[in-house]
């Protein structure tokens, strides 16, 4: 997995340490620590994982193993507006793939990528538990139901106009 090199600022290191401490630096809480850290930083670059490993007193390789195993964790920064398209069974049979293709076409990115302006990132997930609204798209925390390929343009417009 590729990653972006960065130098952490002292206050960022302090923040990671604080998160680890709130879980008593317990190695068993690694996943929770990573969740909270990703919430704070938006992603989990290598440098952040090194601090987590040192605080929990576990090998960096272990932390990296967990980060690469769970698709929720990412080592690449997400866009300002992260787009998640449900491709679970219910959404899929109701045309999620066509919706996804439309997002890819308009934004000109692949799944897992971020637009060059940093505005949108595109990801898939499996079921958000709102199958009645299939196909479902999430942008940030906002849920869009019964999305059709034709409607994608209008949804994106909401965010493009915000700027």
């Amino acid at each position: 997995m590729s990653h972006i090199k960065l130098e952490l600022k002292p206050e960022q290191v302090a923040k990671i340490k604080e998160i680890c401490k709130s879980f008593n630096n317990d190695p068993g809480e690694l996943i929770n620590v990573l969740h909270r850290t990703q919430e704070t930083f938006g992603y989990l670059p290598a440098e952040v994982q090194e601090v987590v490993a040192a605080e929990l007193n576990i090998p960096v390789a272990k932390v990296y193993g967990v980060v690469t195993f769970y698709s929720f964790f990412t080592m690449l920064p997400k866009g300002k507006h992260p787009i998640s398209i449900c491709t679970g069974t219910a959404c899929y049979v109701r045309g999620a793939e066509k919706v996804l293709d439309e997002f890819k076409r308009i934004l000109n990115v692949k799944v897992g990528e971020t637009t060059p302006d940093g505005n949108f990132s595109l990801n898939c997930l499996r079921c958000v538990g709102a199958c009645g609204l299939a196909p479902v798209v999430l942008i940030g925390e906002k849920v869009y139901g019964r999305v059709s390929p034709d409607g994608v343009k209008d949804i994106l417009k909401e965010y493009q106009e915000q700027q």
Partner: protein, 591 residues
């Protein structure tokens, strides 16, 4: 102890509660095939991720098949280990594992000793349906100075991960990614060289496939022998002679010292020398250093650091350079026997031959992978010319002997050349855990007390227990000795020392379980720790049979000091035989 009764293949068996089906079957003499599972009984190591599913069995009343390596026996259980359903499942599992496995077996370094290959043969796999749908991973090969990672061949048994994390506590390797891309790798999939890897090679020793292998130097050795302008010297480590025979079908624990020397001579080395000679030299330097530190300590010198830690094991050196950077002045400054040999060969012996050091090639045969890295370290070079040019493993030597078409079993016993081939029993036992410190005690005791030892064997220092300690009476002065083998045990012992809980004068550490006899370069033991025990017995047998058993009585060592070095820890000895250590903690990962 609570027990349960069950039936396996129509046979009754009673086992302690919690026993797995696999082990209960073993008790009945039923050998259920396993692939990812590994148990090293005497070391308390068990790897059972239940990932491969080769070991499945049918349990009456259970809907799905059960992995026998990790399913506990239950009272009244009825197990069948070879029904049609089981055989079909095993075959399918194997076909799936092979579907995305490279098919270059003919040239794979593990070919012939590959557990995956053996299993494919055992299960009669003749075709691999569905391989057109498999996504082949295309990882780049990772070449470190000692170990090659070719993780396209990784089957995710995770044995290496268990050795690296639980046994050695090195933490260089972890399972990463998922699906077809899942492999075991260092953090951020960087090269092993950038990880805290110590090159102990225990991962290589347990890898069932060609995913982890040693860097092979045999071609370079052959080239050196063929070069008429080079004089090629070979040195053989103590542990090699106790294991090399296994590669030729001899019983574990067979000593093949004489045959090994004969084979090396037939291959064409100009001088067949012994690392044991340098082990005796190590004892002279390290033993003197111990006594020096001890007497200064007893005289109240506060600058003296005790305990003294042995420094013969290069993986252990790498380990403390990564993990105990605050204690870099504690280990003995004595070089390892391999490096002492190289330094003496390319100075003292080169002078004797009237040759320049560049005209000599020193090859070492080691039970070890870390030795390959060690001989490449910059501090062991003079103007870019290394003291030891190539280090090959016991396995590589066996390859060489086979390639040279030598009938090993029929070879006569031959003797090492002199002067660097003469050694004592004290040097031989360097190969087993506790041996270095026992050898040091034999010499230090006699020098310190001025008395001759009535009993040469210090059996209290021997054994397989991971951490041991003993107190030896130096004529009224009690000397506390600690011993650890396996880096996880070393870490525990060192942490006790650091926190001030433990009070030792001297500690011996060997990175590999069992010491060098269980090294990462030895014939593969495939998880059978009785093989390591047999090698250990052989080492002590060799010691007992030696006419001289104390390093300071080796006549050629005495001569070396008279003619060349002066006395132990002299300026010349310091220059040639001692080294220093580096803080490697910051070299790790992202820069």
């Amino acid at each position: 102890m609570e027990t349960v009764k069950l039936t396996i293949d129509n046979k009754q068996v009673e086992v302690p509660k919690g026993t797995t089906i696999y082990k209960a079957a073993k008790k009945l003499g039923i050998d259920i095939p396993v692939l990812c599972y590994m148990e090293l009984h005497d070391l308390g190591v068990e790897n059972k991720p239940a990932g491969c599913r080769i070991c499945v069995v049918e349990v009456e009343g259970r809907r799905n098949l059960a992995p026998s390596c990790s399913t506990a026996c239950i009272e009244g259980m009825v197990v069948k280990t070879h029904t049609t359903r089981v055989i079909n499942a095993r075959r399918t599992v194997m076909e799936l594992i092979l579907s995305d496995h490279p098919k270059d077996c003919l040239t794979c370094p593990k070919s012939g000793r590959c557990e995956l290959q053996d299993m494919a043969i055992k299960l009669g796999i003749r075709e691999i349906p569905g391989q057109e749908y498999a996504e082949m991973s295309t990882y780049r090969k990772d070449f470190s100075p000692s170990i090659i990672r070719d993780v396209d061949k990784c089957i995710m048994c995770r044995r290496c991960e268990t050795m690296c994390n639980e046994v050695q506590t090195v933490g260089a390797l972890s399972a990463v990614n998922r699906g077809f891309m899942a492999v075991v790798a260092p953090a951020f999939e960087q090269d092993l060289e950038k990880s805290p890897c110590t090159y102990c090679g225990q991962c290589v020793a347990v890898c069932p496939t060609g995913a982890l292998t040693e860097v092979d130097h045999t071609a370079k050795v052959i080239r050196a022998i063929a070069d008429p302008n080079k004089t090629v010297l070979v040195q053989t480590a103590p542990a090699v002679r106790a294991a090399l025979g296994e590669e030729f079908g001899l019983k574990p624990g067979t000593l093949v010292t004489g045959k090994m020397v004969a084979a090396l001579r037939q291959i064409g080395f100009d001088y067949i020398f012994d690392t044991d000679f340098a082990a005796d030299l190590t004892i002279m330097e390290e033993g003197t250093e111990l006594l020096d530190r001890l007497t200064r300590f007893l005289d109240g010198d506060k600058s003296v650091k005790l305990p003294i830690l042995t420094s013969c094991c290069p993986a252990w050196v790498n380990f403390f350079e990564h993990n105990f950077t605050d204690m870099l002045d504690v280990p003995s400054s004595a070089k390892s026997p391999q490096q002492m040999f190289g330094a003496i060969a390319k100075s003292y012996f080169a002078e004797k031959l009237g040759k320049k050091r560049e005209e000599l090639v020193v090859v070492s045969v080691m039970p070890c992978l870390a030795k390959k890295y060690e001989c490449q370290r910059d501090e062991f070079k003079v103007d870019g010319n290394p003291d030891v040019d190539f280090s090959i493993t016991t396995r590589e030597l066996a390859h060489l002997i086979k390639e040279f078409n030598i009938n090993f079993e029929e070879l006569p016993d031959e003797d090492f050349d002199r002067p660097l081939g003469e050694s004592t029993g004290a040097a031989v036992i360097f190969g087993a855990t506790g041996g270095v410190i026992e050898a040091a005690v034999r010499t230090a005791y006699e020098i310190y007390t001025g008395k001759s030892l009535s009993k040469i064997d210090f059996t209290e220092l021997r054994g397989m227990e991971g951490i041991r300690s003993a107190t030896i009476d130096f004529n009224g002065l009690p000397i506390n000795i600690g011993i650890a083998h396996g880096l996880g045990n070393a870490r525990k012992l060192l942490e006790e020392v650091r926190s001030g809980k433990a009070n030792f004068h001297a500690i011996e550490v060997m990175a590999c379980p069992g010491g060098c006899i269980g090294g990462g370069g030895q014939p593969l033991h495939h998880g059978d720790s009785s093989i390591i025990k047999a090698r250990m017995e052989a080492i002590y047998r060799e010691d007992a049979g030696k006419p001289i058993r104390k390093s300071h009585e080796n006549p050629y060592i005495i001569k070396l000091y008279e003619e060349f070095l002066g006395k132990p820890m002299s300026e010349k000895a310091h220059h040639l035989l001692h080294t220093h250590y580096f803080n490697k903690k910051k070299d790790v990962y992202i820069k």
